[in-house]
Structure formats: C-alpha cells, structure tokens
Symmetry: C2
Subunit: 630 residues, 2 copies
C-alpha cells in the first residue's frame, strides 16, 4: 500500500495489506482497466519526450543532449510507481520486466556517491545550485516513492537500494550543520518518510522532519528575483514555517505536497501539535479555497491558491497534481485521526477532481481542470482546457501522477484496526483485515445501496464500520428489513460476532442536490451547482436543446431534477433533467440600471451529466455552476 | 496636441491647437498640478532605475553595464513626452532644459545609421533578433511620439531629427522586400503616423501601414516557444490580421496600442473598410471585455484580455497602460467619426481608469487596477494592488505613461470644425477654435451644471456642440430660464450668431445610479455597481461602520442612495450613503443546499467613495461591485 505507517506511528487507522483489497467490477474497475491500458502508452510518451532517454544517456547507455527541464526524471519515477502498483493489483511479466529494466538504467545513471539527476548530470550543472527550479530533491522524493512501491509490490529491492544510496547522500549533504536550502517543490518529505517506513532508517525520517521545519525562512525562492511569483516565498510554501501557517497558500501542488509530507512526519514522530496545525490548515482550505469538486488552486499565474473565497469556476486552475496531493494529504489525516471528514474528502476528490482529469479512454489528460469552459474558448495549447485533453505535456507531471494514483486506488478504500474493518469508499470487491473478510456489492456511485456480505470472520466480536457520507441525508443501516437511521458524516458501526454469509446493508437515498456556495464566494453568486450522491454534475453543450447557447441557459431551482439512466451516453451515466430558461440576448449596453426590466426568458430544458465525463466528445462549452432563473 | 491628423486625413473632427485649450481651476487642475509636481520625481526614479544611465552609457557620457530589460529607453521617452506637453501647458526653463539636455544625450547615443537602443547597444546584442521581447520598435515608437511632442510644444527639432533618422533606418530595414518581422509590442505604428503628420514624409505612413498589415501571420511570437502565452500569437495581436479580428484579444496593452495605430493609418489613408473593422472591434470590446470603469484586461497570466464576459473584479488586471491605450484608440475613433460614444468612453476612462492609477499626491502608481481588494490580501510586491501604490516598477511602463497622458489632458477636451466647436469633456477653462472662443464654468464631476460663456465669436452663424453624456437622463440645454430637453448620448447643438457674453447652459441631473452587468458576466452576478455622473463609486474599509468586515457588507437597492459632500475627505469628494446589511458569518460548510435558510442579516449602513480615490489611506479592502441584500 501507498503510505504504510510504522509500528510506533501515531495513527487511529491502518491501511489494509496489498493482498487485502480486490476490486471486482463496477464503476472503478472500468476506470482501472483504462488506466492499465494507458501504461504502455505512458512509456511511449516518456520515450518520445526524452525523459527515459535522459536516464539512458546519464547511464551511459545512449548519447545525446538532455531533454526538457531538470525535473524530467520525476515523470519516469511516477510512471514506475504506477507500474509497481499495477503489478500489485494484477501481476504480469511485462510489468516486472519494465521495473527491472528501467531500474537497471536508473541504477547505472546514479553517481558513485549516490547523487542522481539525469538532466543535471548530462548538462554538467552544479549540484543543488538552483533548487528553486532544478528540483533535484523533488526528483529524489518521487524516486523514493517509486522504489518503495516496487519493493512492496514485487519484493525486489534493486530500486530501493538506489533510493537509499541517494537518501544517504542527501542525509550527508542537507540538514543542521550542512547545506540549509530546501527544494522549490516539496515531495522529498513524503518520499523520505516512506523510505524510513520501508527500511527503518531513522535518519531518513529526521531529514524529512528537517525539510519540513526548514520551510518559512526564505530558503526556497530564487535569490534577488522579486518581480513575480518566482520571487515570492509563498510560491514555495516558504513564507511562514509550517507550524505557523494558517491556510495553504502559493503554488497549490507544492503546498499540499508539503502538508502531506508534514503529516507523515507528525504521524511517525507522534507530533500532536504539528498534526493539529495541519488539521487546521486543511480545514481553512476546505472552507475557503476548495472548489466544489474538491479541486484546489484558483490562479493561472503562479499555479496558485488564491485568497479565501477566490474560487472563480472559469479561471479555476485546479491542477490535476494538486487534487492528487490533496488526496494524499487527506489520506494521511484519515489514518492519523479516523475522522470521516477526510474520507468524505477522498470520495469527493476521487470522483470529481481526479477522475475528470483523465478521458474515459484513460489515455488523455487535463493539466488544468476548469469548472467552466465558454463557447468558443481559446487558450494556450499546452494547459488550457479550451483545447480538450492531451496525451502529454511539456511539463508532464500530471499524466503519470494520474496513472500511479489510479493504480493505487485499492489503497484508499478501507482500513483495519485490531478489532475491525473500516470501509471508506464503496467499490465492489473484497476487503480483508486480519481474519475478517467481507465482500462489497454496490452500484455506487449511481445507486446508494451497499451490501456487505461476510465471507470469513473471527470467532469473536469485531466491528464493521461503514462511512455514511456527509451528503447522505436519510441513510439507513442494518440487515434486510431491519434498518435504522444513521447520521451523515459518521461511521455507522456494527459490532458483533459475524458469521460467513451475514449481511449488512447501507441504504443511501440519492436525490439530486442543488447547492449554493458560501455567501463570500463572489464568483458563483446567483448560481447553483448540482450533485447526486458523490458526483458533481455539469451542463455540457452537446446535451442541451438545439440552438441553445450554454451561456444563455438558466436553471429553475423550483422544479425538482429528474434522474435518467442513459446506458449509451459517455460509458453509461445517470443524467439529470432540469427545468430552466434561456436568458434574453445581450442588452444594448453592458452595464444597465438595475431596475431596468429585461424581456421574459423563454423556458428551456437542461440536461446535466456527471462532471467527470465532460470533454469526452471534443472541446465544448461546459459549466458546473449554473445561473439560477430569477 | 497629441494626434494631429494631416490636411487630407479622413476625420470628422479636428483637435484644437495647443494654444486653444487652457484649464483653469476645478477638479482636473488639481490633478494636473500633482502630475506636474511628480515630473522631477520621475527623472529621479528614471535615474535610480538606470534608464537614463543606459542612454548616457550608449552616448559615451558614462560607463557601466546596461540596466533592466531591453525596452527601458521607452520609459525615458514617455517621460520626455510628458515634459514636452507640460511645457506646452505652462512653459518653464527647467522643462526646456530637460528636453535639450536629454535630447542631446539621445542624439549622441544614436548609431551612425540611425539605429538606437541603448540596452542592445551596450550589451552588443544582435539587432532585431529578439523582437518578441527586445521591443526595439516599441522603443522607436515612443521616441517618435516624444520627438513630435517636443517639436509641437517647443518648436525645437533636435529630437525630431533623431526620430526621423531612426525612422529612415527602419524604413530601409523593414517592409516588403526587406525584413518581415513585427515587434512583439505595438506602438511604432502610432509613432510613425505622428512622425508622418509632423514631417509629411509619406514613407513613415507607408511603414506604419505595413506594420499594421503584417500582423496575423505569425511573425511576432517567439519561435518554437509554445507552452505559454509567449508562444501564442494572440499574445502579440498576431493570431489574425487586423482586418479579420473581431474582438481585441491577448495582451491588452499590445492589442489596444495596435488598434490605435491602425486607426491612425485608416484616418491618414482614408481606409473606410479598416476604420469600420476597428469600430466593430471597439464595440466588441466595450460590450464584453471592458470593466465598468472602462479598464480592460482580465488576466494576470499574459496580462491579457480574457474571453467575452470574463470580467472578474478581484482578478481584473486592468493595466494602467491598457487604459491609456484605450483612451488613445477612442480619441482617434472620435476624430474619425464624431460619434459621441467615443467621447463618453474617454470620460469614463479619464475618471475611472486613468485617474485611479495615480495617487492623489500624483507620485505613486498602480500597475494593476483591481476592482476588488479583499481584507488581508497578499500578492507579488511589484504589481499587486494588495500592497497599495508604488513610486516605480521594475517594468516601469505605467508611471511615465500616466505622466504624459495627464500632461496631454488638454488635447482630449474639445475639437473644432470649420463652423464650430465641439466640447467633449467639461473642465473649467477656455476653448478656442478659430475665431470662436468660449469659457467653460462647471463644478463637474461633482455637479452637472456646465455654463459656456462666449468670449469671442465670428460675425457669422457657428455651431456650439456640447456632449450630453450617455448617463445624463433628464439633461436640459439652453440659455438661462429657457431650457429644452436634450438626449443622452448625443451632442446638443446650438447654431447661431454668437456674441461675447452669450451663455449656453447644460444641466445634467446627477442622481446616484445603481447598475448591473450583462446577464452573461458571471463574476458580478448578484452584485451592483454605483455611479454618479461620470464617476464609478466603491466601498473601502475605512469608511464603513466599526467592526464591519468589507466582505460581509450587502447593499439594499430598494433605498435610494444619498449624496454627502465631504470637503475634508480624500481631497474633497461627494460620498454616497447607502442602506445595507451585514451578511451572517460563514456557514458551517462551504457548499450548502440552496433551500437551507440562513440567519437574518442585521442592517448596516454603507458609505461609498469615488473609485479613483481609493487606496490613498493605505492598502485596505475595497470593492466596486457590491453584493445585493437578498
């Protein structure tokens, strides 16, 4: 599993072993199949981009110039991590061969003293001289995560040895009494803690803690470079020490990666004060800096969190990697606290922030996940959602990040404790914690019925905890015919002597929910968003009445929305039909007296689809936040 | 005057001569005094930044390395233009000395063949090899404008000779059969046409026309650089030919500078089709891409126009230079067409887009003119309005642009034709067109009464045209006691035999006006903006009730706003008092069911000040668009 707290870690919940989770059919199985099919494409694209070539050149297996920015190695490492988790889900010789072959190249590229960065080595750059941009430690962090995944998934430790040699070199280079800089882009903290967990080497944890504590003292920004975000310590999560930060700020991916790594440190060192700070930071983000999809990041300039309540749907940056970092942070907080809030967040993120970033084919990606694309939108070819999804990017952090996260999906479904099993996400398949094994049957996320059938149980009372999502008003739990109400935003617990064949059912009504944002969110005032179950919905141009321009559609919130199962649309979805109206055409002047009457709005029907499925029919206008008919 | 169409130009209106306008007291006289007082500071800051030093080094008058980006010369030229117009307004030996001394340095810095760019010369850079960023032609354009201003204001032609030598060099270097590139940043087009007007050299006009027509063929973008706006031809107004452009796009300053230059070309070549295109472009901008203040530019990334209706107040880029470029464009369209729409635009821009960019002291500037600053906002130190105004910037295009525009204010007040005078802006002082001379008396913009007293008149019927602003419902015109209604958005014309002492009065009621934006503007839905006369109003934190956080204030649009004259506030303003309410505190969840009731909002009074006056009491929260109490 990704994230495996050590024996002494301060956690409430523990991940299930790799063998303790299997996914069998249903919504996510199709997404995982598509992801697996995309993995060979990932290798082709990494090769085409020169990212694998860089490592081969550094290893002396090829010749040529280095390709791309200094952090290209990290794309390869993330892809290798995806290969490892895929091997754990379903072993295959091809996957193992990939790990061995690329692992050998990486080992050959490593310098005698443990240093490793293909681009810097080929270009002969001074080590660690431009950490704000070279991201040598960021690459190290991804190498560590990949190496740990490979060791856990295959038992083979070749890549782990490369990782520990690099980590030993870092431990001898950075820290108190040594070099004091931090990397412009966090991730090495998470990587070092995982390496500590896998090897038991305490100095990796110490170095991670050092990197966390070293933030906030102006060690990350480019010296003397002040006119833009590159000169702003906040861009690097370096304006304030982690312990004094109230709300994540600056570059969103960096901020949430750092917070996830700091949570790892808090867990392994039992640092309750640090954990409390991180919980407060998460809450501040959730209340004022998180889009309704769970995505974070409001600004294109600096790829940054904006200020609190700055959440414009059309300019949402909502980088795919930021959603993944938020997921990693939420998972660590869930393990540390057992608070169902974080499991609710993981659900929200998986369905509405991670999944929209990849096409239904599994092979094309969004870097930026907008919540609103206008008719005829233009934008830069690389990142702009105006162009639809892309197979790869010049800065290709997102695609392999999606691959490794989907491949690791089983990690996030359930946890175990000494006396029970906690089910956080509802996916058909089998979950095993110790001698308790259950089978999950559900049509989730389309249907709110979850049936848990016990397959094996210990001869003593244990507890089965099922998350009741925060949205699940009217949920009930029990055995057939004997259902009791359970509260949304809690775990519904059943403690007893289970026997094989026993069933527990959780029934969650799934009416469409019409939501508004906090009164302080300026950009969505006068609009509503629609959810059903865990899914955020959107209107996209192809589903609307002939001739209706998406910008002109208004929703009538007085009329209940009607679900409609459409098996042939977008791989099979439940769409929602809504009553609405067409706004009158543009007024003669852009700004007019507020009392000036407008022509009446003719009625028009709207059809909503799940947001994750948009942009699978070419680039069309879309919006999550729909203006209310007034 | 800035912009002096040639004898054969296709214009409806012609500027008054420099001697034909004087400003005497009132609102603008104080702003012009402050601007004049800032001119010596401008020289200090240009010296401190090394911009003047660059020219001295290139001239062999000093030694050292070049400072700053390649287009630093342009800041000096814009400042020199301000000096020239100030000299025209009120001659002073000091100003003349500045022009002569710096003019001599510039002449000495010029290469034998006419080329001139201090930074490129000092650094030994290849000429015109990086036009997307070096902006050698942009610098040339500003030199031409400064040289023409100096010639018109002083009659001395030293700088004009430098300009024509450079222009001759450009005419021999660029154009059909020569180099085909265009500069990344337009402005040379306007400069060349003005140089043509001043010298009669047709090839300057031809080269300007060439630069206009050469856009739209991918000659401006940095080759092979595609992952951001620097690789997008739209960033350089180079995606489509000018004649095929429907709406300004990309970098806002570049787009409006190009459009203004293209309008100059259309005027001087009598190109009615080009003029018609440019009028359509202006209209598209006005309807969907212009903030209520007249400012343009919605995106920090790429300093760009966004899409139509993308007009978020909090992230408005609204660069000062873009407002100035829009003003220049509108002025040229007004001359070409006589359409009062453009004079209305100039009024809007002067009061609400140019003036907010400079402090009441005249010495500190905004680069970015936000319409909404949140409580506790942060941002990059250089451009972010979160920090308040600054004396100068690393990229210092805006401050000297404000200086030259305010110094040239008399240019924009009125025009003349063979048989009359058209008054576009109401400023106390004297206007003279031929043998018709009138005195304007008014308390504008606080008061809507304008009294025009004839001081000299020809012995024949002539026409006095007074603009009735588009906002002036209920306006009346006539002599004392005999007033007739006149229509907003027109010129009220009086044709007769005038005699000295005759008076014509225009009375414009000035109630506060509560406005909403087009239904398609997402970012201001549920909000109103307030104007009174030509002024946009705003709420700023220091004026609100004790303890009321600006974000929580809501305005009650059912209760009329009350004006209040406050002579001691912000140099003397009419503030507006409004009824309102305080929104309840943040909801427990950021997204909640739309039918969920909220606690009632306690009443609170709001006080609005003119937007131009904000940020003169330190950096505080401010907003132009105020959420309505619902």
């Amino acid at each position: 599993m990704t994230v495996l707290p050590g024996p002494a870690a301060a956690v409430e919940l523990r991940p299930l072993p790799l063998s303790g989770v299997s996914v069998a059919g249903g919504f996510w199985a199709r997404r995982l199949e598509a992801n697996r099919a995309a993995i060979p494409l990932g290798r082709e694209r990494l090769t085409e981009a020169g990212s694998i070539g860089n490592l081969r050149i550094a290893a002396g297996q090829a010749t040529g110039a280095a390709s791309g920015a200094g952090f290209r190695d990290s794309d390869v490492y993330k892809w290798l991590e995806a290969v490892a988790w895929e091997y754990a889900r379903d072993p295959g010789e091809g996957l193992l061969e990939e790990l061995r072959e690329l692992g050998a190249t990486i080992a050959a590229a490593q310098r005698e003293d443990g240093y490793l960065n293909a681009v810097a080595q080929i270009r002969g750059e001074e080590r660690y001289a431009r950490l704000w941009m070279s991201h040598e430690l960021y690459c190290a962090g991804h190498l560590f995560q990949a190496a740990v995944a490979a060791a856990r998934a295959t038992g083979e430790k070749r890549l782990l040895r490369v990782a520990t040699r690099f980590a030993d070199h870092l431990a001898g280079t950075f820290g108190p009494g040594r070099r004091g800089e931090v990397d412009g882009h966090p991730v090495v903290e998470m990587g070092l803690v995982e390496l500590y967990r896998e090897t038991g080497e305490r100095r990796y944890l110490d170095l991670a803690r050092h990197f966390v504590e070293a933030r906030g003292h102006g060690r990350a920004a480019k010296p003397g470079f002040d006119p833009s975000h590159y000169g702003d310590p906040a861009h690097y999560s370096d304006r304030l020490p982690v312990r004094e930060t109230e709300s994540p700020e600056g570059h969103a991916v960096r901020a949430v990666y750092l917070a996830a790594g700091a949570t790892d440190v808090a867990i392994e060192t039992g640092d309750a004060a640090l954990l409390a700070t991180l919980r407060r930071q998460y809450d501040a983000m959730r209340r004022g800096k998180q889009h309704i999809t769970g995505a974070v990041g409001s600004r294109w300039d600096g790829e940054a969190f904006g200020e609190a309540y700055e959440l414009a749907p059309d300019r949402a940056y909502a980088e795919t990697c930021a959603a993944i970092g938020t997921l990693q942070w939420a998972w660590r907080l869930l393990l540390a606290t057992g608070d169902p809030l974080y499991a609710d967040q993981i659900e929200l993120l998986l369905y509405n922030a991670l999944l929209p970033a990849v096409s239904l084919t599994g092979a094309d990606y969004f870097y930026v996940n907008t919540l609103h694309r206008r008719t005829g939108a233009r934008g830069e070819v690389q990142r702009s959602p105006a162009h639809g999804r892309r197979p790869w990017f010049n800065c290709a952090c997102c695609p392999p990040n999606v691959m490794r996260t989907l491949a690791a999906l089983p990690s996030y479904l359930a946890t175990g404790t000494a006396d029970g099993l906690q089910v956080h996400q509802y996916v058909p398949g089998t979950l095993t914690s110790g001698d308790l094994s259950v089978e999950i049957g559900t049509g989730y996320p389309w249907d709110g019925l979850v049936t848990v059938t016990v397959r094996a149980a210990p001869p003593r009372e244990v507890e089965l905890a099922l998350r009741v999502p925060d949205w699940a008003q009217g949920a009930r739990l029990g055995s057939l015919g004997r259902l009791r109400p359970v509260a949304p935003g809690t775990y519904a617990r059943t403690r007893r002597l289970f026997r094989p064949g026993d069933q527990v059912q959780l029934r969650m009504p799934m009416p469409a929910r019409v939501l508004v944002a906090d009164d302080r969110v300026d950009a969505t005032r006068g609009c509503v968003a629609v959810m059903r179950g865990p899914l955020v919905y959107a209107i996209e141009q192809p589903d609307q009445p002939d001739g209706a321009v998406l910008e002109d559609l208004r929703i009538n919130t007085e009329v209940p929305l009607e679900p409609e199962h459409l098996p042939d649309l977008l791989g099979g979805v439940i769409a929602l039909r809504a009553a609405g109206a067409l706004a009158p055409g543009p007024a003669p002047t852009p700004y007019r007296p507020c009392e000036q009457p407008r022509p009446p709005a003719p009625p028009a029907d709207l059809k909503l689809i799940p947001y994750y499925a948009w942009a699978n029919r070419g680039p069309h206008a879309m919006r999550v936040w729909i203006p209310r008919k007034t």
